[in-house]
Symmetry: C2
DNA sequence: CTGAAAGCGCTAACAG
DNA sequence: CTGTTAGCGCTTTCAG
């Protein structure tokens, strides 16, 4: 039988309410009483039952982590989701690490759930953790959640914050990496190395992050008075395969190409293969720079120069933002937190000799 | 204000208990009454409050997913854990996908937590989800949890199952991939291709999975009457770096080596690099075969032949096993579920010509 | 500063 | 087959 607050009260020779007061370390408890209660708690190894607390306070002290996953019906019943992880192998996972650490630190529980974004979905299937009031707030990872869902969240007054993905129009809290400045860093670096014809394989055009990277690309060009050549621009869907294809097109179409900025490390992997297949070398013939600094970046040959996204920190920041918006005074207007990126120089880019 | 069971009872003109009965679809409710109640539930969009149910039933209908992570103090406060994901990039994550799907299907919630296995840990820090009775059972992913922790779990009567890792001595429920048969598949395949001097880069000797892979290696050798040459055996710690180093040693030490079985795809990545650096080709000079069929396998050049571990299925099976052991009749003696592996032939192995 | 009492929303005997 | 009643373990007024 689990020990309850009554057991503690009895042992400490006080009432339940007093125990409750010290438990939630409120004021108005005598020093000696407090000590007695603490001792009893320790002796009994007492821990409040979360369900009971939740029932009375209407707060679960849990937050939900929800990752969005496109799903193709045909693969649905096996590793289905796995096909997706081809696209963004571990972004959400790395973020989750930060989220876990921070929720743990703050004494919150972390509920994990996926949103399977079925194409032929007929109705919203809201995860039970939401409908059953099992979480006080929600982290939405990866953007692109359906509007109806977001709307439902608002109706139900469930605080949420977007992590990693977002849309410009979004009137909600969100935290994401500074892709514009990241894109700038990458391209500025390439230019500083002497490159002028710089290809760009961006992510899908529909996402704000891709838009931002493009801004970065453009502003770096602009800074150095390089005119935009639209034929240097390609895009993929984050998969290695799409990176491969985009690079093939670039290589075919753009003579004099010496460097390519790829909007995602995973795509860079495919791009790299396209380069190699043409018997070109990296970085001697083509300099390559990625984005994210995922696990794969260090295992590239040569190790991939890339723009690091601080995923762990993204998670931590998101949790704190969520907490803030969960607290009463946090119900202000939506905020954005933008986490800086960092250029990680490895060995996939080289300085272009001046061969005027 | 949230609608409660009383609201439903009132609208349907029955008592709360009747509503509760239909909710938990028990027998003993008239067809018409049931219908009335359902209608009221739908009209009010009523969902039972999980906290209240948990309080009365002593069941949370949540399970916990706990991943173990070695932690080095110096990196602890940043991407700390990230260094670890270098070793097993996504094993736990892929398992989690299966777990999520299955818990969702069964109406359970999934709590996520990491166990940071600090080397200089002084005391057990049990996650709150356990101490506060927030979960009914626990999935322990990756093995190597400290004995005291396991012992505490038993004391508290919290059902748990090991996933992926396990120890032979373990007297607990566990589900894991059939590494012995997987190892056999790999080596048998290499032999069938004509290879005789087959190197083996195993995982750390301390783990049962490594032991099993070794058994597979040995029995394949035995089947084909090939004598064991211990100099062909190396081991690493799952990291790409360790795979690289092991392969270097193998290459230096073993003339006539034509194929290597690597106990983990991530290590194979490093091994591959060692091969390439010596200007040897894969598969022309050295055939390489991995284990796990992780994301990276398809992005190898050439695509890596490997032994597939069904991680999603591992997760699903683990959940069901946990449910079983949570139910009263499940409290039998510990069981093991072994998930078969599958040889995935890609392009990193070649047939050895008979050059007698 | 401390205690008594009410009640959160639900389930589970037990009557009827 | 349905309703009444009594809690589950905790927090929170409100008195003392």
């Amino acid at each position: 039988m689990k020990t309850t607050i009554s057991d503690v009260a009895e042992l400490a020779d006080v009432s339940k309410s007093t125990v409750s007061l010290v438990l939630n370390n409120r004021a108005n408890v005598g020093e000696d009483t407090r000590a007695r209660v603490f001792k009893a708690i320790k002796d009994l190894d007492y821990r409040p039952l979360k369900a009971a607390q939740a029932l009375t306070t209407k707060k679960t002290r849990n937050i939900g982590f929800m990752e969005i996953l496109p799903v193709h019906e045909d693969t649905e019943n096996r590793d289905g989701a796995y096909g997706v992880s081809t696209m963004i192998p571990t972004f959400a996972y790395d973020v989750a690490r930060g989220v876990e650490r921070e929720t743990q630190r703050c004494g919150y529980g972390l509920l994990f759930s996926c949103w399977y974004n079925r194409l032929n979905r007929t109705k919203l299937e809201i995860p039970a953790m939401i409908t059953n009031s099992w979480v006080d707030g929600l982290l939405l990872v990866g953007g692109a959640f359906p509007d109806e869902f977001i709307h439902a969240l608002k109706t139900w007054c469930i605080p949420f914050v977007f992590v990693g993905g977002h849309s410009a129009a979004e009137t909600a809290n969100c935290v994401f990496a500074d892709c514009a400045s990241g894109g700038f860093q990458a391209v500025d670096y390439l230019i500083s190395l002497g490159h002028r014809r710089i290809g760009f394989i961006n992510g899908p055009g529909s996402t704000q992050t891709s838009f931002d990277k493009m801004q970065g690309y453009l502003s770096a060009l602009h800074k150095h008075h390089i005119e935009l050549d639209e034929s240097l621009i390609e895009s993929g869907d984050f998969s290695a395969q799409s990176g491969y294809e985009a690079m093939c097109r670039l290589l075919d179409r753009c003579p004099g190409l010496t460097a390519v900025f790829v909007g995602f490390d995973g795509m860079a992997l495919g791009a790299r293969q396209a380069v190699l297949e043409r018997r070109l070398r990296i970085p001697e013939d083509i300099s390559l720079i990625g984005f994210e600094d995922g696990w794969i970046a260090t295992h590239f040959e040569p190790a991939l120069t890339t723009v690091k996204v601080f995923k762990f920190e993204l998670g931590v920041a998101a949790v704190n933002m969520l907490f803030e918006s969960m607290s009463a005074e946090g119900r202000r207007k939506p905020k954005k937190i933008i986490i800086p990126t960092e250029l990680i120089v490895r060995r996939s880019c080289r300085r272009l000799e001046e061969v005027k």
